[in-house]
């Protein structure tokens, strides 16, 4: 079984895996990073979203051999110590979660969107987030959290 060097949240890890093994299962089973979720395994729900070189990728369909050596960020790598990333903070402040199983993926997708477009238009948000499913239907709150994080909305919610 080949060995790969993975660079996750600023740390390197050596993992033994078949080349086609999905990054999601390496993260969850070998590295203990369970914040990244399995929701469908076909890149349709977004629960497994991580950042690879700063861009949102569905880790369930990312083969280990193709992401080795690249900069990988998971939900666990966003906060600086106890200080939350602004997107995490915005999700908390907007109450943008119910069961929250989609939340990691939603946050990672938002970070990626704001990396590319710090002040996205409404349609940009809709299009870039449409691959992330929230079965609890928290979409309007998540939209509000994204707007808050992008600094478009500064006032406190009543």
């Amino acid at each position: 079984m080949p060995r790969y060097e993975l660079w996750v949240n600023g740390q390197t890890h050596s993992v033994d895996a078949e080349p086609e093994t999905s990054l999601l299962f390496i993260l969850r089973e070998q590295l203990g990073l369970t914040g990244t979720k399995y929701g469908c395994g076909e890149a349709q729900c977004g629960a497994c979203t991580v950042l690879i070189s700063g861009h949102a990728k569905r880790s369930c369909r990312a083969q280990i051999s193709l992401v080795a050596g690249k900069e990988i960020t998971t939900i666990e790598g966003l906060a600086q110590g106890e200080k939350l990333h602004p997107v995490q903070q915005a999700f908390l402040e907007e109450g943008a979660m119910q069961c929250a199983f989609c939340t990691s993926g939603m946050i990672m997708s938002t970070v990626s969107l704001l990396n590319e477009k710090p002040h996205p238009a409404e349609q940009d948000i809709l299009e870039s987030m449409d691959g992330n499913i929230c079965r609890c239907g928290t979409y309007p709150r998540i939209m509000a959290a994204i707007r808050r994080a992008s600094g478009l909305v500064k006032e406190q919610r009543p």
Binding site: E18, F25, C40, C45, A47, I142
Partner: protein, 722 residues
């Protein structure tokens, strides 16, 4: 009375997963249950003081009542730590927060000082399950009573210590205060070195909702930080030392029997455990990749009978009725519909069809099972930890007190996680492997081997006078269920029947149960009747409605929505509402038709909702809007397609659920009734959206839609909802 008999009398027949005959019934023995909580104050309840949902069902087995048990509900330790215990579970409805608020309110302590232990069968009092929107009316009340009792004991203790009248003392912010004597004592000081047990008094004064200071306000999710950092461990995230990963070899069709299995290739793989037990065939290995590989290497032959297809679903349901049972609650009648129909000015008849849909919780069913000697511990995502404990006890022929089920806050359920399938599978594999085993269903398994919301056929015939008063109502529901099948409109002659059907698919509870189907049919039919007498649909409803609280949601919702204001060209409005799980709901929808294209856009949705006194306005809005968005899927797109025992659309790429771009402008209008006890809100708000959309689309297109989902019928007529 057996648990099953009790259930049959108290729950709707469409909760098929709860009513099926359990394989074995054990005499439960919970002696030795009383746990050591440390010194301090414990509030306990004898079974008799607890509402039925929390007691009778679980304490009776095999026709015999067990000795009355003592359950601890609240503990205040000498360091001031407060622990409360409930068998209710968190699946995203945010009850960990709202129940914590209720405790904080009565106990007069900061929210942060409370730890709520939920759904751990070893630690919490028996609970039948988290369903039926019962958490707020039952558990919220129970925890407020328990907390109020603890507060009164603490005040009495301080009064004794200071030799003053308890009436002049107040409890606030975790301490008892004597404003006259200018002294105070922290709860922790009062209980230090003590072992006090207080039985919950039968009657105790509660703080009325109009005087709430913590409850009734928006507070953020109590452990929200754990969710935005990925730290929270869902059932599928649990790991145990030495744990293996399980994979089940599934049959190619429902109701198949395992004939043979060639496991040689899998057996040759290192570290693989294979279990074949009856129809169960599964493997466990060191990683999920290895387990998958081993499962794929097994060649199994299954035998299955030919089965029906979704294309013939509605004819099938009409033709496969079961014999009615004696004494069931499947029918209701008043007056006599026959002469009323004969004398009718207008008679309206229509048939409505409802497809099977899937819960599709984002976290699939998952469990981790660990055997320690003859003790079994299972972490699993279930709305019925005690129910799953019974299933495990039965399956492994062991007393239930040797089984512990823990339910970490789970990635949603919507009524779909009542059964313990994944728990049984993980436990069976773990017993063979002699190591802990985790089983997480794939999305395909989740779409195939869980149970579905019942499909149904609903036939309605009604009679209405020229002045718009409904005189007769005949309603037949095939298979969907009885939830919400009674009409709340004031009709003198009624005949309402539920017809049980031998369902072609495994079916069971779903958020709102059959109330969604029954409200869809009834509320679309109300519009059809209003059309027959050329009345405004809202005015027609109010003319036939006496119930004040239901009138209020229709009237106030209509006002807020601007129902009576003229709509723009190519815009139409629809309304649908009703009463379910003690909540009153009216949903208003505006749609727009893009001229010349057939494109229909749902512009905005407003739901007015009355669930008594509001406990957490923000959480409530989330539930109302979330239920409406979930309801959009069943209204427009979702339908399980099946053929010959297989599900044809068992992935998200083939089963469309609502996404960001599907969501219209959403508004929730909270009718906060401080004079009424709070009731649940997880289910009722889902029932209005489908009929409101159907009625709005009719208003703008003239097409009457009578099937859920509506998308395919619309497409056949050249319309597209986008």
């Amino acid at each position: 009375m057996t648990q099953r008999t009790l259930l049959k009398q108290t729950v709707e027949p469409e909760r098929y997963e709860l009513l099926k005959e359990p394989p074995v019934l054990f005499e439960s023995d919970r002696r030795g249950f009383f746990r050591f909580l440390g010194t301090g104050l414990v509030v306990i309840c004898s079974a008799k003081t607890v509402a039925w949902q929390e007691s009778g069902a679980g304490r009776r087995r095999g026709g015999q009542e067990l000795p009355q048990e003592i359950d601890a509900w609240l503990h205040i330790g000498e360091k001031g730590e407060i622990t409360a215990f409930t068998g209710k579970v968190e699946v995203g409805q945010n009850i960990r927060t709202s129940l914590t608020q209720a405790i904080a309110e009565e106990l007069r302590v900061p929210v942060e000082s409370i730890e709520l232990v939920m759904g751990d069968t070893k630690l919490v009092p028996y609970d039948i399950g988290t369903f039926g929107s019962l958490t707020t009316p039952v558990m919220n009340l129970q925890l407020r009573r328990v907390s109020g009792a603890a507060r009164d004991v603490l005040i009495a203790m301080a009064a004794k210590q200071w030799s003053v009248d308890a009436a002049r003392l107040t409890a606030t912010d975790g301490k008892v205060e004597d404003t006259q004597g200018k002294r105070s004592a922290m709860y922790s000081e009062l209980v230090k070195g003590q072992q006090i047990t207080q039985v919950l008094p039968a009657e105790d004064p509660l703080i009325p909702p109009s005087k709430w200071t913590v409850a009734g306000k928006t507070i953020p999710k109590v452990d929200g930080r754990d969710f935005v950092t990925g730290r929270h461990q869902y059932p599928s995230d649990i790991t145990r030392p030495g744990m293996l990963y399980g994979k089940i070899v599934r049959p190619g069709a429902f109701n198949a029997t395992l004939i043979s299995a060639d496991t040689k290739a899998a057996e040759a793989m290192p570290g693989v455990t294979i279990v074949r037990d009856g129809n169960f065939l599964g493997v466990a290995a060191a990683s999920s990749a290895e387990a998958e590989k081993a499962a794929a290497a097994i060649h199994a032959d299954w035998k299955a009978e030919p089965q029906t297809t979704s294309k013939e679903l509605f004819e099938y349901l009409k033709n496969h009725q079961e014999k009615p049972e004696e004494g069931d609650n499947y029918r209701f009648g008043s007056g006599d519909v026959v002469p009323a129909f004969a004398a009718a000015t207008h008679k309206v008849s229509a048939t409505y069809n409802i497809n099977y849909i899937a819960h599709a919780p984002l976290e699939p069913r998952a469990a981790v099972a660990e055997w320690t000697g003859d003790q079994l511990t299972v972490w699993t995502g279930t709305q019925r930890p005690f129910g799953v404990r019974s299933e495990l006890g039965s399956a492994f022929k062991m007393p239930e007190d040797k089984v512990r089920v823990l339910m970490p806050d789970t990635g949603s359920g919507y009524g779909g996680k009542h059964a313990g399938d994944a728990a049984l599978e993980a436990a069976r594999l773990a017993r063979a492997a002699k190591k802990p085993v985790k089983v997480v269903w794939t999305r395909e398994e989740e779409f195939t081997w869980a149970y579905f919301r019942p499909a149904g056929v609903i036939e309605i015939t009604s009679a209405v006078n020229a002045d718009g008063s409904v005189t007769a109502w005949e309603f037949h529901n095939y298979n969907s269920g009885t939830a919400g099948f009674r009409t709340y409109y004031d009709v003198p002659n009624q005949k309402i029947e539920f017809h049980a059907v031998n369902s072609p698919l495994r079916q069971g509870s779903y958020r709102g149960l059959a109330a969604t189907a029954n409200h869809f049919a009834r509320e679309v039919h109300m519009d059809e009747m209003a059309g027959a007498v050329k009345m405004d649909p809202l005015e027609f409803r109010l003319k036939n409605l006496k119930e004040d609280r239901l009138r209020a949601v229709f009237e106030q919702g209509g006002k807020q929505f601007g129902w009576s204001k003229p709509r723009a060209a190519n815009h139409g409005s629809g309304v649908g509402g009703g009463f379910e799980k003690r909540g009153y709901v009216a949903t208003f929808v505006e749609v727009a038709l893009k001229p010349g294209t057939g494109e229909i856009k749902i512009q905005r949705v407003l739901t007015a909702f009355d669930c008594g006194a509001v406990v957490n306005p923000d959480g409530l809005r989330n539930q109302i809007i979330g239920a409406n968005i979930m309801g959009l899927g069943g209204a427009l797109f979702e339908a399980i397609e099946f053929s010959n025992g297989r599900i044809l659309n068992n992935v998200f790429s083939k089963y469309r659920v609502p996404r960001f771009q599907d969501v219209p402008a959403m508004e929730a209008l909270l009718i906060d009734r401080k004079d009424k006890e709070p009731v649940g809100a997880g289910e009722a708000p889902i029932v209005g959206i489908a009929p409101a959309i159907a009625n709005a689309i009719y208003a703008v297109t003239g097409e009457r839609l009578r099937t859920l989902p509506m998308g395919p019928q619309l497409a056949a007529k050249g319309f597209l909802v986008c």
